[in-house]
Amino acid sequence: MLRIENLHVRVGGKEVLRGIHLVIEEGETFILFGPNGSGKTTLLMTLMGFSGYEVTEGRILFKGEDITHLPTYERARRGIGMSFQRPPTIHGLSTRSLVQLCARGRAVDVEALARRVHFEHFLDRDINAGFSGGEIKRSELLQLMAQEPSLVLFDEPESGVDLENMALIGRTVRALLDKTIDPSPEMSMRDLRRRNTTSGLIITHTGYILDYVNADRGQVLYQGVLCCDTRPTRPRDILDHISKYGYKECIRCFN
Protein backbone atom coordinates (compact mmCIF):
# COMPACT_ATOMS: atom_id res chain seq x y z
CA MET A 1 0.00 0.00 0.00
CA LEU A 2 2.60 2.53 1.18
CA ARG A 3 6.33 2.38 0.63
CA ILE A 4 8.63 5.11 1.88
CA GLU A 5 12.19 4.97 0.62
CA ASN A 6 15.06 6.92 2.17
CA LEU A 7 12.88 9.96 2.82
CA HIS A 8 14.64 13.19 3.76
CA VAL A 9 12.48 16.21 4.56
CA ARG A 10 13.32 19.77 5.43
CA VAL A 11 11.04 22.13 7.30
CA GLY A 12 12.02 25.79 7.44
CA GLY A 13 15.53 25.00 6.20
CA LYS A 14 16.12 22.37 8.89
CA GLU A 15 16.34 18.69 8.09
CA VAL A 16 13.70 16.96 10.21
CA LEU A 17 13.45 13.53 8.58
CA ARG A 18 16.78 11.97 7.81
CA GLY A 19 16.23 8.87 5.74
CA ILE A 20 12.98 7.10 6.57
CA HIS A 21 12.33 3.60 5.28
CA LEU A 22 8.88 2.24 5.92
CA VAL A 23 6.48 -0.22 4.29
CA ILE A 24 2.84 -0.56 5.27
CA GLU A 25 1.01 -3.44 3.64
CA GLU A 26 -2.60 -3.55 2.56
CA GLY A 27 -4.88 -3.85 5.58
CA GLU A 28 -2.01 -3.36 8.00
CA THR A 29 -2.02 -0.86 10.86
CA PHE A 30 1.30 0.63 11.81
CA ILE A 31 1.95 2.52 15.06
CA LEU A 32 4.48 5.32 15.21
CA PHE A 33 5.97 6.29 18.56
CA GLY A 34 8.45 8.97 19.36
CA PRO A 35 9.16 11.89 21.65
CA ASN A 36 8.00 15.43 20.83
CA GLY A 37 9.97 16.96 18.02
CA SER A 38 11.15 13.64 16.62
CA GLY A 39 9.43 14.29 13.28
CA LYS A 40 6.23 12.21 13.56
CA THR A 41 3.86 14.95 12.49
CA THR A 42 6.32 15.99 9.79
CA LEU A 43 6.13 12.50 8.35
CA LEU A 44 2.32 12.63 8.18
CA MET A 45 2.28 16.13 6.71
CA THR A 46 4.82 15.07 4.09
CA LEU A 47 2.77 12.01 3.18
CA MET A 48 -0.22 14.31 2.68
CA GLY A 49 1.90 16.71 0.62
CA PHE A 50 1.46 19.96 2.54
CA SER A 51 3.41 23.09 1.71
CA GLY A 52 6.45 23.78 3.85
CA TYR A 53 7.52 20.12 3.91
CA GLU A 54 10.28 19.86 1.35
CA VAL A 55 11.38 16.40 0.24
CA THR A 56 15.12 16.66 -0.47
CA GLU A 57 15.80 13.00 -1.07
CA GLY A 58 13.98 9.69 -1.38
CA ARG A 59 10.48 8.94 -2.51
CA ILE A 60 6.98 7.91 -1.46
CA LEU A 61 5.14 5.14 -3.32
CA PHE A 62 1.41 4.64 -2.85
CA LYS A 63 -0.22 1.61 -4.48
CA GLY A 64 2.91 1.35 -6.57
CA GLU A 65 2.79 4.91 -7.85
CA ASP A 66 5.38 7.55 -7.03
CA ILE A 67 3.39 10.31 -5.31
CA THR A 68 6.37 12.21 -3.86
CA HIS A 69 5.52 15.36 -5.78
CA LEU A 70 1.79 15.04 -6.29
CA PRO A 71 -0.43 17.83 -4.96
CA THR A 72 -2.38 17.09 -1.77
CA TYR A 73 -5.76 16.69 -3.44
CA GLU A 74 -4.38 14.11 -5.89
CA ARG A 75 -3.14 12.04 -2.96
CA ALA A 76 -6.55 12.37 -1.27
CA ARG A 77 -8.27 11.27 -4.46
CA ARG A 78 -5.98 8.25 -4.73
CA GLY A 79 -7.05 7.17 -1.25
CA ILE A 80 -4.95 8.81 1.45
CA GLY A 81 -6.96 10.36 4.27
CA MET A 82 -5.77 12.20 7.32
CA SER A 83 -7.22 13.02 10.70
CA PHE A 84 -5.98 16.45 11.73
CA GLN A 85 -4.96 17.35 15.25
CA ARG A 86 -5.72 21.06 15.01
CA PRO A 87 -7.89 21.63 11.96
CA PRO A 88 -8.73 25.21 10.97
CA THR A 89 -12.19 26.75 11.42
CA ILE A 90 -13.89 27.63 8.16
CA HIS A 91 -16.69 30.10 8.71
CA GLY A 92 -19.82 29.68 6.67
CA LEU A 93 -18.96 26.07 5.77
CA SER A 94 -21.22 23.70 7.66
CA THR A 95 -19.96 20.35 8.87
CA ARG A 96 -22.71 18.76 6.81
CA SER A 97 -21.51 20.41 3.60
CA LEU A 98 -17.92 19.41 4.23
CA VAL A 99 -18.85 15.78 4.91
CA GLN A 100 -20.78 15.85 1.64
CA LEU A 101 -17.74 17.30 -0.13
CA CYS A 102 -15.55 14.53 1.30
CA ALA A 103 -17.68 11.97 -0.51
CA ARG A 104 -16.83 13.64 -3.82
CA GLY A 105 -20.16 13.08 -5.46
CA ARG A 106 -20.81 9.59 -4.06
CA ALA A 107 -24.15 9.29 -2.31
CA VAL A 108 -23.61 9.19 1.46
CA ASP A 109 -26.12 9.28 4.26
CA VAL A 110 -24.56 12.10 6.24
CA GLU A 111 -27.08 11.84 9.08
CA ALA A 112 -26.50 8.11 9.54
CA LEU A 113 -22.72 8.50 9.52
CA ALA A 114 -23.00 11.38 11.98
CA ARG A 115 -25.06 9.27 14.36
CA ARG A 116 -22.21 6.76 14.53
CA VAL A 117 -20.02 9.39 16.17
CA HIS A 118 -22.88 11.16 18.01
CA PHE A 119 -22.38 14.19 15.84
CA GLU A 120 -25.80 14.72 14.31
CA HIS A 121 -26.39 17.87 16.36
CA PHE A 122 -23.23 19.46 15.02
CA LEU A 123 -23.97 19.06 11.32
CA ASP A 124 -25.23 22.60 10.89
CA ARG A 125 -22.38 24.17 12.84
CA ASP A 126 -19.51 25.77 10.96
CA ILE A 127 -16.73 23.26 10.66
CA ASN A 128 -14.44 23.25 13.71
CA ALA A 129 -15.92 26.47 15.10
CA GLY A 130 -15.53 26.19 18.85
CA PHE A 131 -15.21 22.39 18.75
CA SER A 132 -13.68 20.77 21.83
CA GLY A 133 -10.85 18.23 21.54
CA GLY A 134 -13.26 15.29 21.43
CA GLU A 135 -15.59 17.06 18.99
CA ILE A 136 -12.69 17.70 16.62
CA LYS A 137 -11.82 13.99 16.64
CA ARG A 138 -15.40 12.97 15.97
CA SER A 139 -15.70 15.52 13.18
CA GLU A 140 -12.47 14.30 11.59
CA LEU A 141 -13.63 10.69 11.79
CA LEU A 142 -16.98 11.63 10.28
CA GLN A 143 -15.22 13.26 7.33
CA LEU A 144 -12.97 10.23 6.89
CA MET A 145 -15.98 7.88 6.95
CA ALA A 146 -17.44 9.84 4.04
CA GLN A 147 -14.10 9.97 2.27
CA GLU A 148 -13.44 6.20 2.58
CA PRO A 149 -9.66 6.34 2.22
CA SER A 150 -7.58 3.19 1.77
CA LEU A 151 -4.75 4.56 3.92
CA VAL A 152 -5.67 6.56 7.02
CA LEU A 153 -3.18 8.78 8.82
CA PHE A 154 -4.05 9.55 12.43
CA ASP A 155 -2.15 12.17 14.35
CA GLU A 156 -2.70 11.30 18.00
CA PRO A 157 -6.31 10.16 17.96
CA GLU A 158 -6.45 10.27 21.76
CA SER A 159 -5.14 13.79 22.41
CA GLY A 160 -7.60 16.09 24.14
CA VAL A 161 -10.22 13.35 24.42
CA ASP A 162 -11.92 12.40 27.68
CA LEU A 163 -12.31 8.75 28.66
CA GLU A 164 -15.93 8.52 27.65
CA ASN A 165 -15.19 9.79 24.16
CA MET A 166 -12.07 7.62 23.91
CA ALA A 167 -14.14 4.45 23.64
CA LEU A 168 -16.31 5.94 20.91
CA ILE A 169 -13.31 7.24 19.01
CA GLY A 170 -11.40 4.00 19.46
CA ARG A 171 -14.30 1.94 18.13
CA THR A 172 -14.76 4.27 15.17
CA VAL A 173 -11.09 4.17 14.25
CA ARG A 174 -11.33 0.41 14.40
CA ALA A 175 -14.41 0.38 12.20
CA LEU A 176 -12.74 2.68 9.72
CA LEU A 177 -9.70 0.40 9.49
CA ASP A 178 -11.82 -2.75 9.36
CA LYS A 179 -14.11 -1.18 6.77
CA THR A 180 -17.14 -2.08 8.84
CA ILE A 181 -18.62 1.39 8.68
CA ASP A 182 -21.33 0.33 6.31
CA PRO A 183 -21.54 -3.45 6.14
CA SER A 184 -24.25 -4.25 3.68
CA PRO A 185 -26.35 -7.23 4.74
CA GLU A 186 -26.13 -9.07 1.43
CA MET A 187 -22.36 -9.20 1.57
CA SER A 188 -20.84 -12.56 2.50
CA MET A 189 -18.06 -12.77 5.07
CA ARG A 190 -15.67 -13.53 2.27
CA ASP A 191 -16.63 -10.35 0.49
CA LEU A 192 -16.33 -8.41 3.72
CA ARG A 193 -12.85 -9.78 4.28
CA ARG A 194 -11.85 -8.93 0.77
CA ARG A 195 -13.03 -5.37 1.42
CA ASN A 196 -10.73 -5.17 4.39
CA THR A 197 -7.94 -3.36 2.65
CA THR A 198 -7.70 -0.19 4.71
CA SER A 199 -4.26 0.51 6.08
CA GLY A 200 -3.47 2.79 8.97
CA LEU A 201 -0.56 4.86 10.21
CA ILE A 202 -1.18 6.06 13.75
CA ILE A 203 0.88 8.38 15.89
CA THR A 204 0.33 7.84 19.58
CA HIS A 205 1.90 9.01 22.81
CA THR A 206 -0.29 7.30 25.34
CA GLY A 207 -1.06 4.08 23.52
CA TYR A 208 -4.75 4.22 24.55
CA ILE A 209 -5.69 3.60 20.95
CA LEU A 210 -3.98 0.17 21.13
CA ASP A 211 -6.90 -1.03 23.26
CA TYR A 212 -9.15 -0.66 20.23
CA VAL A 213 -7.23 -1.38 17.06
CA ASN A 214 -5.37 -4.42 15.83
CA ALA A 215 -1.98 -2.86 15.50
CA ASP A 216 0.31 -5.11 13.53
CA ARG A 217 3.64 -3.39 13.88
CA GLY A 218 5.20 -0.32 15.38
CA GLN A 219 8.42 1.64 15.43
CA VAL A 220 9.96 4.56 17.23
CA LEU A 221 10.86 7.70 15.38
CA TYR A 222 13.79 9.38 17.06
CA GLN A 223 15.68 12.42 15.78
CA GLY A 224 14.35 11.94 12.29
CA VAL A 225 15.12 8.24 11.80
CA LEU A 226 13.11 5.11 12.52
CA CYS A 227 14.65 2.79 15.07
CA CYS A 228 14.12 -0.88 15.82
CA ASP A 229 13.47 -1.85 12.23
CA THR A 230 15.45 -5.09 12.26
CA ARG A 231 12.73 -7.35 13.59
CA PRO A 232 8.94 -7.35 13.73
CA THR A 233 7.96 -5.40 16.80
CA ARG A 234 4.68 -5.47 18.67
CA PRO A 235 3.45 -1.98 19.50
CA ARG A 236 2.55 -3.12 23.05
CA ASP A 237 6.12 -4.16 23.77
CA ILE A 238 7.47 -0.88 22.49
CA LEU A 239 5.01 1.04 24.62
CA ASP A 240 5.95 -0.98 27.70
CA HIS A 241 9.60 -0.27 27.15
CA ILE A 242 9.02 3.41 26.62
CA SER A 243 6.98 3.75 29.77
CA LYS A 244 9.54 1.80 31.79
CA TYR A 245 12.80 3.19 30.46
CA GLY A 246 11.98 6.28 28.38
CA TYR A 247 12.81 6.77 24.73
CA LYS A 248 16.59 6.63 24.99
CA GLU A 249 16.56 3.28 26.71
CA CYS A 250 14.05 1.98 24.25
CA ILE A 251 16.27 2.81 21.33
CA ARG A 252 19.27 1.16 22.86
CA CYS A 253 17.23 -1.96 23.57
CA PHE A 254 15.76 -2.39 20.16
CA ASN A 255 18.89 -1.57 18.26
Binding site: P71, T72, Y73, M82, I90, G92, C102, Q147
Partner: protein
Protein backbone atom coordinates in the same frame (compact mmCIF):
# COMPACT_ATOMS: atom_id res chain seq x y z
CA UNK B 1 -5.51 58.11 0.72
CA UNK B 2 -6.53 59.77 -2.51
CA UNK B 3 -7.79 56.61 -4.18
CA UNK B 4 -10.22 56.05 -1.32
CA UNK B 5 -12.26 59.05 -2.40
CA UNK B 6 -15.19 58.08 -4.54
CA UNK B 7 -14.65 59.00 -8.19
CA UNK B 8 -16.20 62.33 -9.20
CA UNK B 9 -19.47 62.08 -11.02
CA UNK B 10 -20.35 64.87 -13.45
CA UNK B 11 -24.13 65.14 -13.52
CA UNK B 12 -23.98 67.00 -16.83
CA UNK B 13 -22.57 64.06 -18.69
CA UNK B 14 -25.77 62.01 -18.35
CA UNK B 15 -29.08 62.29 -20.17
CA UNK B 16 -31.95 62.94 -17.74
CA UNK B 17 -34.72 63.37 -20.32
CA UNK B 18 -36.50 61.55 -23.06
CA UNK B 19 -35.73 57.87 -22.50
CA UNK B 20 -39.13 56.34 -22.06
CA UNK B 21 -40.29 52.92 -23.17
CA UNK B 22 -43.76 51.76 -24.02
CA UNK B 23 -45.71 50.24 -21.15
CA UNK B 24 -45.38 46.51 -20.84
CA UNK B 25 -48.67 44.82 -20.07
CA UNK B 26 -47.16 41.36 -19.85
CA UNK B 27 -43.59 41.39 -18.54
CA UNK B 28 -43.05 37.80 -19.61
CA UNK B 29 -42.96 39.18 -23.16
CA UNK B 30 -39.53 40.73 -22.47
CA UNK B 31 -36.74 39.48 -24.67
CA UNK B 32 -34.66 36.66 -23.30
CA UNK B 33 -31.40 38.59 -22.73
CA UNK B 34 -33.23 41.18 -20.62
CA UNK B 35 -35.05 38.44 -18.76
CA UNK B 36 -31.79 36.71 -18.02
CA UNK B 37 -30.27 39.96 -16.77
CA UNK B 38 -33.27 40.51 -14.49
CA UNK B 39 -33.15 36.97 -13.14
CA UNK B 40 -29.53 37.55 -12.10
CA UNK B 41 -30.74 40.29 -9.75
CA UNK B 42 -33.63 38.30 -8.32
CA UNK B 43 -36.39 39.60 -10.57
CA UNK B 44 -38.24 36.78 -12.23
CA UNK B 45 -41.14 37.85 -14.39
CA UNK B 46 -42.29 34.27 -14.84
CA UNK B 47 -42.58 33.14 -11.23
CA UNK B 48 -45.18 33.84 -8.57
CA UNK B 49 -44.72 37.15 -6.88
CA UNK B 50 -47.08 39.15 -4.70
CA UNK B 51 -46.38 42.14 -6.93
CA UNK B 52 -44.10 43.38 -9.67
CA UNK B 53 -42.77 46.81 -10.57
CA UNK B 54 -40.50 47.36 -13.56
CA UNK B 55 -38.87 50.58 -14.59
CA UNK B 56 -36.78 51.08 -17.72
CA UNK B 57 -34.60 54.18 -17.90
CA UNK B 58 -36.89 57.17 -17.36
CA UNK B 59 -40.29 55.58 -16.86
CA UNK B 60 -42.12 52.77 -15.16
CA UNK B 61 -43.28 50.17 -17.68
CA UNK B 62 -45.17 47.77 -15.46
CA UNK B 63 -46.85 47.70 -12.04
CA UNK B 64 -49.04 44.91 -10.84
CA UNK B 65 -50.20 43.37 -7.63
CA UNK B 66 -51.30 39.79 -7.24
CA UNK B 67 -52.36 40.08 -3.61
CA UNK B 68 -55.16 41.92 -1.88
CA UNK B 69 -53.70 44.40 0.56
CA UNK B 70 -50.54 44.94 -1.46
CA UNK B 71 -50.42 48.15 -3.49
CA UNK B 72 -47.74 48.50 -6.15
CA UNK B 73 -47.80 51.82 -8.00
CA UNK B 74 -45.43 54.06 -9.88
CA UNK B 75 -44.44 56.99 -7.68
CA UNK B 76 -46.09 59.65 -9.90
CA UNK B 77 -49.32 57.70 -9.90
CA UNK B 78 -49.19 57.42 -6.12
CA UNK B 79 -48.44 61.13 -5.69
CA UNK B 80 -51.54 61.94 -7.75
CA UNK B 81 -53.79 59.42 -6.09
CA UNK B 82 -52.72 60.24 -2.52
CA UNK B 83 -52.47 64.03 -2.72
CA UNK B 84 -48.70 64.20 -2.85
CA UNK B 85 -48.06 61.54 -0.18
CA UNK B 86 -47.52 64.36 2.26
CA UNK B 87 -46.73 62.03 5.17
CA UNK B 88 -44.03 60.19 3.28
CA UNK B 89 -42.61 62.02 0.27
CA UNK B 90 -39.27 63.66 1.26
CA UNK B 91 -40.17 63.16 4.93
CA UNK B 92 -37.40 60.81 6.00
CA UNK B 93 -34.74 62.36 3.77
CA UNK B 94 -33.67 65.98 3.71
CA UNK B 95 -33.45 67.17 0.08
CA UNK B 96 -30.41 69.28 0.96
CA UNK B 97 -28.46 66.40 2.53
CA UNK B 98 -25.75 66.32 -0.15
CA UNK B 99 -25.01 67.06 -3.78
CA UNK B 100 -26.70 63.93 -5.11
CA UNK B 101 -29.77 64.22 -2.92
CA UNK B 102 -30.11 67.79 -4.20
CA UNK B 103 -29.73 66.57 -7.76
CA UNK B 104 -32.37 63.93 -7.18
CA UNK B 105 -34.65 66.66 -5.84
CA UNK B 106 -34.02 69.01 -8.77
CA UNK B 107 -33.74 66.77 -11.79
CA UNK B 108 -36.95 65.53 -13.40
CA UNK B 109 -38.37 62.61 -11.43
CA UNK B 110 -38.40 59.52 -13.62
CA UNK B 111 -40.41 57.22 -11.47
CA UNK B 112 -39.66 54.68 -8.83
CA UNK B 113 -42.17 52.65 -6.88
CA UNK B 114 -44.70 53.11 -4.15
CA UNK B 115 -45.43 49.92 -2.25
CA UNK B 116 -47.89 49.83 0.60
CA UNK B 117 -48.87 46.75 2.53
CA UNK B 118 -52.16 47.17 4.36
CA UNK B 119 -52.44 46.65 8.13
CA UNK B 120 -52.12 43.05 9.24
CA UNK B 121 -51.42 41.68 5.77
CA UNK B 122 -48.60 39.17 5.80
CA UNK B 123 -47.33 38.42 2.35
CA UNK B 124 -45.46 35.17 1.89
CA UNK B 125 -44.24 35.54 -1.70
CA UNK B 126 -41.90 38.46 -2.30
CA UNK B 127 -42.82 41.66 -4.08
CA UNK B 128 -40.26 42.34 -6.78
CA UNK B 129 -39.12 45.61 -8.23
CA UNK B 130 -36.58 46.34 -10.87
CA UNK B 131 -34.85 49.53 -11.86
CA UNK B 132 -33.30 48.78 -15.20
CA UNK B 133 -31.08 50.98 -17.33
CA UNK B 134 -31.24 50.08 -21.00
CA UNK B 135 -29.80 53.16 -22.67
CA UNK B 136 -26.14 54.15 -22.72
CA UNK B 137 -25.38 57.44 -20.98
CA UNK B 138 -28.71 57.50 -19.18
CA UNK B 139 -29.11 59.35 -15.90
CA UNK B 140 -31.90 57.67 -13.97
CA UNK B 141 -33.56 59.48 -11.09
CA UNK B 142 -36.06 57.49 -9.08
CA UNK B 143 -37.87 57.90 -5.78
CA UNK B 144 -39.16 54.85 -3.91
CA UNK B 145 -41.51 54.76 -0.97
CA UNK B 146 -42.37 51.66 1.02
CA UNK B 147 -45.02 51.73 3.72
CA UNK B 148 -45.59 48.62 5.78
CA UNK B 149 -48.64 49.25 7.93
CA UNK B 150 -49.20 47.98 11.48
CA UNK B 151 -48.68 44.28 11.89
CA UNK B 152 -48.04 43.73 8.18
CA UNK B 153 -45.11 41.75 6.77
CA UNK B 154 -43.45 41.74 3.36
CA UNK B 155 -40.25 40.82 1.54
CA UNK B 156 -39.29 43.17 -1.25
CA UNK B 157 -36.63 42.12 -3.72
CA UNK B 158 -35.18 44.99 -5.69
CA UNK B 159 -32.92 44.25 -8.59
CA UNK B 160 -30.96 47.07 -10.11
CA UNK B 161 -29.17 46.34 -13.33
CA UNK B 162 -28.02 47.69 -16.63
CA UNK B 163 -28.86 45.98 -19.89
CA UNK B 164 -26.22 44.07 -21.77
CA UNK B 165 -24.18 46.58 -23.74
CA UNK B 166 -24.78 49.60 -21.51
CA UNK B 167 -21.41 51.07 -20.67
CA UNK B 168 -21.94 54.31 -18.83
CA UNK B 169 -24.91 55.43 -16.73
CA UNK B 170 -25.84 57.18 -13.50
CA UNK B 171 -28.46 55.93 -11.06
CA UNK B 172 -29.82 58.31 -8.44
CA UNK B 173 -32.32 56.72 -6.12
CA UNK B 174 -34.12 58.12 -3.12
CA UNK B 175 -35.75 55.45 -0.94
CA UNK B 176 -37.88 56.11 2.10
CA UNK B 177 -39.11 53.22 4.22
CA UNK B 178 -41.83 53.47 6.85
CA UNK B 179 -42.27 50.44 9.06
CA UNK B 180 -45.21 50.88 11.39
CA UNK B 181 -45.94 49.29 14.75
CA UNK B 182 -45.27 45.56 14.81
CA UNK B 183 -44.61 45.47 11.05
CA UNK B 184 -41.74 43.72 9.33
CA UNK B 185 -39.95 44.60 6.14
CA UNK B 186 -37.28 42.41 4.60
CA UNK B 187 -35.59 44.34 1.86
CA UNK B 188 -33.21 42.52 -0.45
CA UNK B 189 -31.32 44.53 -2.99
CA UNK B 190 -29.16 42.98 -5.66
CA UNK B 191 -27.02 45.24 -7.80
CA UNK B 192 -25.51 44.33 -11.10
CA UNK B 193 -24.23 47.34 -12.96
CA UNK B 194 -21.90 47.96 -15.85
CA UNK B 195 -18.25 48.96 -15.94
CA UNK B 196 -18.77 52.72 -16.10
CA UNK B 197 -21.95 53.02 -14.08
CA UNK B 198 -22.08 55.33 -11.08
CA UNK B 199 -24.65 54.70 -8.39
CA UNK B 200 -25.76 57.14 -5.71
CA UNK B 201 -28.69 55.74 -3.72
CA UNK B 202 -29.90 57.65 -0.67
CA UNK B 203 -31.95 55.58 1.75
CA UNK B 204 -33.56 56.30 5.10
CA UNK B 205 -36.01 54.17 7.05
CA UNK B 206 -38.08 54.82 10.13
CA UNK B 207 -39.17 51.91 12.29
CA UNK B 208 -41.90 52.25 14.90
CA UNK B 209 -42.58 50.26 18.06
CA UNK B 210 -41.70 46.55 17.75
CA UNK B 211 -41.16 46.94 14.03
CA UNK B 212 -38.46 44.94 12.25
CA UNK B 213 -36.31 45.97 9.32
CA UNK B 214 -34.03 43.39 7.72
CA UNK B 215 -31.83 44.38 4.82
CA UNK B 216 -29.79 42.25 2.47
CA UNK B 217 -27.46 43.85 -0.03
CA UNK B 218 -25.60 41.92 -2.71
CA UNK B 219 -23.10 43.45 -5.13
CA UNK B 220 -20.86 40.97 -6.90
CA UNK B 221 -20.04 42.46 -10.29
CA UNK B 222 -17.96 45.32 -11.55
CA UNK B 223 -19.25 48.88 -11.21
CA UNK B 224 -17.41 52.19 -11.62
CA UNK B 225 -18.62 53.59 -8.34
CA UNK B 226 -21.22 52.97 -5.68
CA UNK B 227 -21.58 55.38 -2.81
CA UNK B 228 -24.36 54.82 -0.32
CA UNK B 229 -25.05 54.89 3.40
CA UNK B 230 -28.58 53.72 4.22
CA UNK B 231 -29.70 54.90 7.65
CA UNK B 232 -32.38 53.34 9.81
CA UNK B 233 -33.96 55.11 12.75
CA UNK B 234 -35.39 52.79 15.37
CA UNK B 235 -37.81 55.30 16.81
CA UNK B 236 -40.22 52.98 18.60
CA UNK B 237 -39.49 50.87 21.68
CA UNK B 238 -38.48 47.29 20.86
CA UNK B 239 -37.71 48.00 17.20
CA UNK B 240 -35.03 45.90 15.51
CA UNK B 241 -32.84 46.42 12.43
CA UNK B 242 -30.34 44.12 10.82
CA UNK B 243 -28.19 44.68 7.75
CA UNK B 244 -26.31 41.98 5.87
CA UNK B 245 -24.09 43.01 2.99
CA UNK B 246 -22.07 40.92 0.60
CA UNK B 247 -19.80 42.94 -1.64
CA UNK B 248 -17.20 41.96 -4.20
CA UNK B 249 -15.11 44.60 -5.92
CA UNK B 250 -13.26 43.51 -9.06
CA UNK B 251 -10.52 45.68 -10.55
CA UNK B 252 -11.94 49.05 -11.56
CA UNK B 253 -14.72 49.06 -8.97
CA UNK B 254 -14.95 51.64 -6.24
CA UNK B 255 -17.51 50.76 -3.61
CA UNK B 256 -18.01 53.06 -0.66
CA UNK B 257 -20.90 51.72 1.31
CA UNK B 258 -22.13 51.11 4.81
CA UNK B 259 -25.12 51.17 7.06
CA UNK B 260 -26.13 53.32 9.97
CA UNK B 261 -28.57 52.39 12.72
CA UNK B 262 -29.84 54.92 15.23
CA UNK B 263 -31.12 53.29 18.42
CA UNK B 264 -33.51 56.07 19.38
CA UNK B 265 -35.90 54.27 21.72
CA UNK B 266 -35.60 51.94 24.70
CA UNK B 267 -35.30 48.23 23.99
CA UNK B 268 -34.06 48.67 20.43
CA UNK B 269 -31.45 46.42 18.83
CA UNK B 270 -29.34 46.80 15.74
CA UNK B 271 -26.88 44.60 13.92
CA UNK B 272 -24.74 45.35 10.89
CA UNK B 273 -22.77 42.56 9.22
CA UNK B 274 -20.73 43.05 6.09
CA UNK B 275 -18.54 40.68 4.13
CA UNK B 276 -16.36 42.25 1.49
CA UNK B 277 -13.91 40.86 -1.00
CA UNK B 278 -11.65 42.87 -3.22
CA UNK B 279 -10.18 41.40 -6.35
CA UNK B 280 -8.29 44.51 -7.32
CA UNK B 281 -11.03 47.04 -6.52
CA UNK B 282 -11.42 49.52 -3.70
CA UNK B 283 -13.91 49.01 -0.89
CA UNK B 284 -14.67 51.40 1.89
CA UNK B 285 -16.75 49.37 4.33
CA UNK B 286 -18.49 51.71 6.71
CA UNK B 287 -20.85 51.17 9.55
CA UNK B 288 -22.17 53.21 12.41
CA UNK B 289 -24.42 52.44 15.33
CA UNK B 290 -25.62 55.28 17.48
CA UNK B 291 -27.08 54.49 20.89
CA UNK B 292 -29.29 57.36 22.02
CA UNK B 293 -31.62 55.46 24.35
CA UNK B 294 -31.39 52.79 27.05
CA UNK B 295 -31.54 49.94 27.18
CA UNK B 296 -30.28 49.41 23.65
CA UNK B 297 -27.84 47.07 21.99
CA UNK B 298 -25.90 47.19 18.78
CA UNK B 299 -23.24 45.08 17.13
CA UNK B 300 -21.27 45.81 14.02
CA UNK B 301 -19.12 43.33 12.17
CA UNK B 302 -17.14 44.00 9.03
CA UNK B 303 -14.87 41.40 7.57
CA UNK B 304 -12.85 41.79 4.43
CA UNK B 305 -10.75 39.50 2.26
CA UNK B 306 -8.10 40.74 -0.13
CA UNK B 307 -7.58 38.39 -3.05
CA UNK B 308 -4.86 39.00 -5.60
CA UNK B 309 -2.97 42.26 -5.95
CA UNK B 310 -3.99 45.90 -6.09
CA UNK B 311 -7.17 45.86 -4.05
CA UNK B 312 -7.91 47.99 -1.01
CA UNK B 313 -10.33 47.43 1.84
CA UNK B 314 -10.77 50.25 4.29
CA UNK B 315 -13.05 49.21 7.14
CA UNK B 316 -14.48 52.06 9.21
CA UNK B 317 -16.70 50.76 11.98
CA UNK B 318 -18.03 53.49 14.22
CA UNK B 319 -19.95 53.42 17.47
CA UNK B 320 -21.46 56.36 19.30
CA UNK B 321 -23.17 56.08 22.65
CA UNK B 322 -24.82 59.10 24.21
CA UNK B 323 -26.36 57.55 27.32
CA UNK B 324 -25.00 55.50 30.20
CA UNK B 325 -26.12 51.92 29.75
CA UNK B 326 -25.95 51.56 25.96
CA UNK B 327 -24.23 48.36 24.82
CA UNK B 328 -22.41 48.74 21.54
CA UNK B 329 -19.66 46.56 20.11
CA UNK B 330 -17.87 45.96 16.86
CA UNK B 331 -15.36 43.68 15.23
CA UNK B 332 -13.50 44.29 12.03
CA UNK B 333 -10.96 42.18 10.20
CA UNK B 334 -9.16 42.46 6.89
CA UNK B 335 -7.14 39.49 5.77
CA UNK B 336 -6.59 36.72 3.30
CA UNK B 337 -7.67 33.12 2.86
CA UNK B 338 -5.63 31.02 5.24
CA UNK B 339 -3.36 28.59 3.38
CA UNK B 340 -4.06 26.16 6.18
CA UNK B 341 -7.78 26.17 5.35
CA UNK B 342 -7.09 25.57 1.65
CA UNK B 343 -4.81 22.63 2.47
CA UNK B 344 -7.34 21.19 4.89
CA UNK B 345 -9.91 21.01 2.11
CA UNK B 346 -7.32 19.74 -0.37
CA UNK B 347 -6.65 16.87 2.03
CA UNK B 348 -10.31 15.97 1.50
CA UNK B 349 -9.85 15.81 -2.24
CA UNK B 350 -10.82 19.32 -3.34
CA UNK B 351 -8.41 20.92 -5.79
CA UNK B 352 -7.12 24.39 -5.07
CA UNK B 353 -9.82 26.14 -7.06
CA UNK B 354 -12.64 24.15 -5.44
CA UNK B 355 -11.13 24.74 -2.02
CA UNK B 356 -10.85 28.50 -2.60
CA UNK B 357 -14.40 28.69 -3.95
CA UNK B 358 -15.72 26.79 -0.95
CA UNK B 359 -13.95 29.09 1.48
CA UNK B 360 -15.07 32.24 -0.36
CA UNK B 361 -18.68 31.02 -0.46
CA UNK B 362 -18.51 30.32 3.27
CA UNK B 363 -16.98 33.70 3.95
CA UNK B 364 -19.66 35.55 2.02
CA UNK B 365 -22.26 33.36 3.75
CA UNK B 366 -25.21 34.35 1.61
CA UNK B 367 -27.11 31.50 3.34
CA UNK B 368 -27.96 33.65 6.33
CA UNK B 369 -30.00 36.03 4.17
CA UNK B 370 -32.71 33.42 3.74
CA UNK B 371 -33.30 34.31 0.09
CA UNK B 372 -35.65 32.51 -2.28
CA UNK B 373 -33.96 29.48 -3.80
CA UNK B 374 -33.66 30.74 -7.38
CA UNK B 375 -32.01 33.97 -6.24
CA UNK B 376 -29.64 32.06 -3.98
CA UNK B 377 -28.72 29.79 -6.86
CA UNK B 378 -28.09 32.71 -9.16
CA UNK B 379 -25.87 34.35 -6.52
CA UNK B 380 -24.01 31.06 -5.98
CA UNK B 381 -23.44 30.77 -9.71
CA UNK B 382 -22.05 34.31 -9.83
CA UNK B 383 -19.74 33.58 -6.90
CA UNK B 384 -18.52 30.44 -8.65
CA UNK B 385 -17.57 32.39 -11.80
CA UNK B 386 -15.74 34.97 -9.68
CA UNK B 387 -13.57 32.33 -8.12
CA UNK B 388 -12.38 30.71 -11.27
CA UNK B 389 -12.04 33.88 -13.30
CA UNK B 390 -10.51 36.42 -10.95
CA UNK B 391 -9.96 35.22 -7.46
CA UNK B 392 -6.64 33.48 -7.62
Amino acid sequence: MLQLKAPLVDLNSFVFRGKTSVPLEDPSALDSTDKKQLRMVGVDVESTRAGTFLQFDHAPVHCSSARAGVEVLGIQQALERYAGLREYFWRAIDPQADEFTQAAFQEPLHGGYYIRVHPGVRVTEPVQTCLFIKGDGVGQNVHNIVVVEEGAEVHIITGCATAHGVNSALHLGISEFYIKRGAKLTFTMVHQWGKEVAVRPRTVGIVEENGVFLSNYVLLKEVRSVQSYPTIFLNGPGAVARFNSVIVAPKGSHVDTGNRIVLAAPGTRGEIVSRTITIGGTIVARGEIIGDAVPSRGHLECKGLILGEGGIIHAIPELRGTRPGVELSHEAAVGKIAQEAIEYLMARGLDEEEATATIVRGFLNVEIMGLPQELRESIDATIATLDSADAM
